[in-house]
């Protein structure tokens, strides 16, 4: 398999071990190429001065021979490959399965910062669910003119078919993966709400599994919140969606609907289904008869009550949405309307993560909850507003322009890194269809240390925590920290050369300190050798 070593990893790794002279074993990885920029640095307050919660990690990195880290990295990559923790790259026939590159240096979030994030996201998902319930029923917020009606109705993901349909518990967005960035002032802000079929949670769990093997003692010393209960929490949330009229309310048949092995997140689908102990179904396994959904089993047909669907609205029912779809289940939407099956997430949630509607989320929170948003939005210019549009068109080279309905880093212009021709193209596109674009000032995403070719360098990162909205709102502490592995890059998407790293949320804000008090109390945490995991 010639592509094996090349599968998304740094090129020098294939040359091991002969290329490494033994003497290098003694030298810890240097920080000499670690760049400090105007962006917020997760590890350092000032050059050479780590923040309190990063001190123990910093000390460990200073001691650890890069050879050991490198070996751990290889072992981790190999275990990802063997376990098939891969994603599929579209439009590339050979070697379509790639491992999602993972970086061994964890990202650490102190507990008080996490508490703030948790509060902010809970507030946000609550408001967004109320918003969706409102616009698909009475539309009060539209009548009151807080959010323009034409903005909502012109949204590509607005589903008229959902008007007047009651979903169990008003629960539209059950599973949400919000993208957060940290701005230069150290505050977290919401970059995007992913309310349709957010992915990546399996990588969060896989990264943790690997890191536990690599840094076992540090885990203990640091006091990191566990995240392993995510699948269980997800299952409980899904089962809570059981339709009121289901024949067996206490034991609903719950399935995960995948588009199939060709989907880029297929690994995640199998992983979650396996961890939850539910069936992983494809569209062809299901059928609808008399508005009831059944799956084909070897013992005949079995009724299905709750579907965690990882298929987009467009493809889920060829009778109702895209006619050419073979991924979904014909008739599913009617069964859904009849209240015989529940879907997570509901149909039509995409309207609330439309990037133009996003700009109104602070007002939405205020309107329904009468609270100020705890997590800020990133400043956003709507191209439908004359003044903002002309401002953006004049400063295209400083802006990030995004198509409102896209995700995954597609359909974007990054001003500072664009060519004149690209900017011209986007100018034409914006003028032709202003509703379809928004612009944001280019953000300096915070940066964090990453292990690159035997050295520690800084790379830009974001954070995607996963939120479960059921009877209560559940967040597993942490999330997926995505890394823009290309030097200087601001794009963290896996399809665009991004990777990820484990995210540690600390139980106590003082964890990670290596002050003299800790030492005198007998806590020699950083002096203990942290043996990396090797094969």
């Amino acid at each position: 398999m010639p592509r094996r070593q090349r599968a998304g990893r740094r090129s020098t790794q294939g040359a091991l071990p002969a290329a490494i002279a033994p003497v290098r074993n003694l030298v810890p990885p240097s920080f000499q190429h670690y760049r400090f920029e105007s962006s917020y640095d997760e590890m350092f307050e000032a050059p050479g001065q780590p923040r309190a919660h990063y001190q123990a990690l910093y000390q460990t990195l200073l001691r650890l021979p890069p050879e050991e880290l490198r070996r751990s990295q290889q072992a981790a990559d190999l275990s990802f490959l063997h376990e098939g923790i891969t994603f599929t790259v579209y439009g590339n026939k050979e070697g379509t399965e790639r491992i999602f590159p993972n970086d061994l240096v964890p990202r650490i979030i102190p507990s008080h910062e996490w508490a703030q994030i948790e509060k902010g996201l809970t507030q946000r998902i609550t408001a967004l669910n109320l918003f969706l319930n409102d616009i698909y029923h009475d539309g009060k917020i539209l009548n009151d003119g807080v959010v323009p009606r034409e903005l909502v109705c012109s949204c590509r993901h607005f589903r008229r078919e959902m008007r007047g349909l009651d979903v169990p518990g008003g629960n539209y967005v059950t599973i949400c993966g919000t993208d957060l960035v940290r701005l230069p002032d150290g505050c977290f802000a919401v970059l995007e709400d992913n309310l349709r079929v957010p992915s990546g949670v399996s990588y969060m769990l896989a990264n943790r599994k690997v890191l536990k093997r690599v840094f076992p003692t540090m885990f203990q010393d640091y006091g990191v919140f566990p995240i392993d209960h995510y699948p269980q929490a997800l299952l409980a949330t899904l089962r809570g969606l059981v339709p009121p009229d289901a024949p067996v309310r206490n034991d609903p048949v719950t399935v995960l609907l995948t588009p199939g092995v060709g989907n880029s997140a297929y690994f995640e689908h199998t992983f979650l289904a396996q961890q939850m102990g539910i069936e992983l179904v494809e569209g062809r396994d299901l059928l609808v008869h008399d508005n009831v959904v059944y799956m084909r089993t070897t013992a005949g047909l079995r009724r299905v009550d709750v579907i965690y669907r990882r298929v987009d609205d467009d493809f889920i029912d060829s009778l109702c949405f895209r006619r050419d779809s073979i991924l979904g289940v014909p008739g599913l939407f009617n069964a859904y309307r009849a209240g015989n099956v529940s879907l997570a997430n509901a149909i039509g949630t995409g309207v609330a993560d439309d990037k133009a509607v996003y700009a109104y989320v602070p007002e939405i929170i205020k309107y329904y909850l009468d609270e100020d948003p705890i997590l800020a939005n990133v400043p956003t210019f709507l191209m439908t507003r004359e003044k903002e549009r002309s401002h953006v068109l004049q400063h295209l080279d400083q802006m990030v322009v995004k198509a409102v309905g896209e995700s995954g880093g597609y359909g974007m212009l990054i001003g500072p890194q664009s060519t004149a021709a690209q900017r011209e193209e986007f100018r034409t596109r914006i003028l032709a269809d202003p509703r379809n674009y928004i612009a944001q000032p280019t953000l300096a995403l915070s940066s964090a240390p990453c292990f690159v070719d035997g050295e520690v360098e800084s790379r830009h990162i974001d954070l995607r925590p996963y939120i479960l909205f059921g009877e209560k709102v559940t967040l597993v502490p942490g999330g997926l920290t995505r890394v823009a592995l290309r030097k200087g890059s601001l794009v963290v998407n896996s399809s665009q050369g991004g990777g990820s790293k484990d995210t540690w949320v600390l139980r106590e804000s003082t964890n990670g300190l290596v002050g003299s008090e800790r030492k005198s109390a007998g806590l020699h945490s950083v002096n203990r050798t942290t043996r990396p995991w090797t094969v």
């Binding site: 094996r4 098939g84 289904a273 179904v281 008869h289 799956m295 084909r296 089993t297 070897t298």
Partner: protein, 335 residues
């Protein structure tokens, strides 16, 4: 062989049945892996035999190998290198070892949430290893390691399967796939052999033919097991008896058919579809093998007898498909 119905165990089950597509995937995964293992063993054995022969005696042997693997006839001169290449590496040949391993993995991917992580990892590892190999100059003379790797990988997978996966319905489809494939490939191989070397039944074979009979036993992984029962005296009658009718040896026809029966009964119980077509066809075949005498089989011709067995295997296969994997929906909705 029919296990008692275990009501205690049944009470644990939430509901009968598993996804048809997944069951189908596990079944085929198992068939493909068995086929890859069988091909690897057979090609390996034939290459070893080839080394013992004069170079020009080979052509007939290669044609035989193609027939034994049901890989289609080859007219005209046969070049060993390109032939082995076809049987091992050619992706356009769906029965080549590489294709089989890839197909097994693809099928397991379909049912990955039903198998254990360890199983998936083992098969994926085997796949990645095989895909890393490319035939080089003079490869076939040094190929033993490769074939060993395939067989060992398959054995390891079976062991991991048996010790990490629940022996529930899904596991039974894996059993079913393995033994349906084994019965079919064994019958093809043994039949082709007896067709080529119509033997004197009760005399020990002569030195020239001796190697061929050893090859047959080795191709079934049965040489040592045969010797334990009949000593190293190779009598065609005994060889046939052992490979076709032995109730204990895992690579005998009878053993395979017994396993098919057992698996079908358990699946019938688990899915509450008892006494159906696959069970009936398999039961008939089992009875035939259980009550046959080797002398009768020899009199009627081993090849002809085994061809009949093969067509019954095909019948079992399509019956399984029609009842469990691809049944008509209308009938189910009506019931």
């Amino acid at each position: 062989m029919r296990p008692p119905r275990n009501y205690f165990v049944r009470s644990f089950q939430r509901e009968a049945g598993m996804l048809s597509r997944v069951a189908d995937g596990l079944y085929w995964m198992s068939r493909y892996l068995e086929r890859a293992e069988h091909s690897a063993r057979l090609v390996d054995v034939e290459l070893q035999l080839w080394l013992d022969q004069s170079p020009d005696a080979g052509a007939g042997r290669w044609r035989f190998l193609l027939e034994a693997l049901s890989a289609g006839a080859e007219t005209g001169p046969v070049d060993p290198t390109s032939l082995v290449d076809k049987l091992v590496f050619t992706r356009t040949n769906p029965s080549s070892i590489v294709s089989c391993i890839a197909a097994a993995r693809e099928n397991l991917r379909q049912g990955r949430e039903q198998c254990s992580s360890e199983m998936w990892e083992q098969l994926n590892r085997l796949y990645l290893e095989i895909m890393g190999k490319k035939p080089e100059e003079g490869w076939i003379l040094n190929s033993h390691g490769f074939f060993w790797m395939v067989q060992e990988g398959a054995h390891l997978f079976q062991g991991i399967t048996d010790s990490t996966m629940s022996h529930g319905e899904g596991w039974q489809y894996i059993q079913l796939g393995r033994y349906v494939e084994r019965a079919d490939t064994l019958a093809a191989f043994i039949g082709a052999h007896f067709k080529r070397l119509a033997p004197p039944a009760d005399r020990a074979v002569e030195a020239a033919a001796y190697l061929e009979w050893i090859g047959l036993l080795r191709g079934c992984g049965a040489f040592e097991a045969y010797c334990k029962v009949y000593t190293a005296e190779i009598l065609p009658l005994r060889v046939a008896e052992f490979l076709v009718l032995s109730p204990d040896f895992p690579h005998s026809l009878r053993f395979s058919v017994d396993r098919i029966n057992a698996a079908l009964h358990i699946i019938g119980d688990l899915t509450e579809r008892r006494a159906n077509l696959p069970t009936r066809v398999a039961g008939r075949l089992r009875a035939r093998l259980s009550f046959s005498q080797i002398e009768e089989i020899m009199a009627q011709g081993v090849h002809a007898y085994l061809e009949a067995v093969r067509s019954e295997c095909a019948e079992i296969h399509s019956a399984i498909r029609d009842i469990y994997f691809d049944y008509p929906i209308e009938a189910e909705l009506a019931s």
